[in-house]
Symmetry: C2
Subunit: 190 residues, 2 copies
């Protein structure tokens, strides 16, 4: 086995409980709109405005459930377009990352860090990791061949957990560079 499903993540926001309450009101609960491929993760009905130094995105998708730290995931094109810094980082590795303002219907937050461009990554179940011959934190490459833009993504970090579904996640710049629209298949290269 060396094939995995590759999914594209568009810009989105993860929020803490505290930030949900500031943006949407005391006691507010996020409303799941669509469950995602990773177990328990969902896109919410709620949206927030993400404001940078030059411009803003008025309605950015919020993903649930709540997290221990708020995190804004943008493509590097997105980051440049609104004027924020977005270092390439693993999810959750937020020290010294970019800042922005978040605005919801009930309030706003100056996020002093938490803006990143997600490092491309391969979630895998322990069973699939064994079949693929990969370990947690291993760096692999993934090859795709779509839209006249054949490409090999290096620096794909593997994350292995029984809480995951086996999926490679790339951002919209990466999908476009690879001619990918929608879900597709990639080949893992060790």
């Amino acid at each position: 086995m060396n094939k995995v499903i590759v999914e594209t993540s568009a810009r989105h926001v993860h929020l803490t409980r505290e930030h949900v309450e500031i943006l949407f009101g005391a006691g507010y609960q996020l409303t799941p709109k669509k469950y995602l491929s990773q177990p328990g993760q969902f896109a919410c009905e709620e949206r927030v405005q993400v404001i940078g130094s030059k411009s803003s995105f008025p309605r950015v998708s919020v993903l649930g459930p709540e997290r221990k730290a708020s995190q804004v995931e943008l493509s590097l094109t997105d980051a440049r377009s609104i004027g924020v810094e977005a270092p390439v980082r693993e999810s959750g590795d937020l020290a010294g990352t970019g800042s922005c303002k978040l605005v919801g219907p009930c309030g706003e937050i100056e996020l002093t860090e938490g803006v990143i461009a997600a490092q491309r990554h391969l979630h895998a179940t322990p069973e699939d990791a064994e079949k693929l011959g990969i370990k947690d934190k291993q760096i692999v490459s993934i090859e795709t061949n779509y839209g006249g833009r054949h490409l090999v993504f290096g620096d794909v970090i593997c994350r292995v957990s029984s809480n995951y579904a086996t999926r490679c996640h790339i951002d919209t710049d990466e999908a476009n560079a690879a001619g990918i629209t929608g879900e597709c298949e990639g080949t893992v290269i060790l």
Copy 2:
């Protein structure tokens, strides 16, 4: 020799004589602002608005000199953001490509075709082509390793002419997917 300089092309427009006159006035001459790496090519002082079905870019760079067909080069992120079709094509291969409206200070044009996402390509002089072991129209790969986003671009088309300087051109999505900011070096893989 297997190293080449990789440059990123941001969104831009090429115009015919007729379209220059419609957008900027009868007899108007484009004003070179900055000469580019390809001999004789220049970025102009003039800018045009590029309007799609959803939104627009208000000030897109015009490149000179004039061409036989007007052409709008966007990244796929750009195309989606303003709501136009931009098939991945070689420069000049415009049959059936995307449409948009162009607006200048003196007039506007409904461009029925000419919007593309440029196929990544390697311009080379005949001398450098020989050193690199490539021929005109050959498809090669180019490897880059920047910003934690090591990547191998496949489907790079070679264009060999004594009118060129040896440079690989990618768009902003491709640069971002590869963690590239500014000019950098890539390795040609045959």
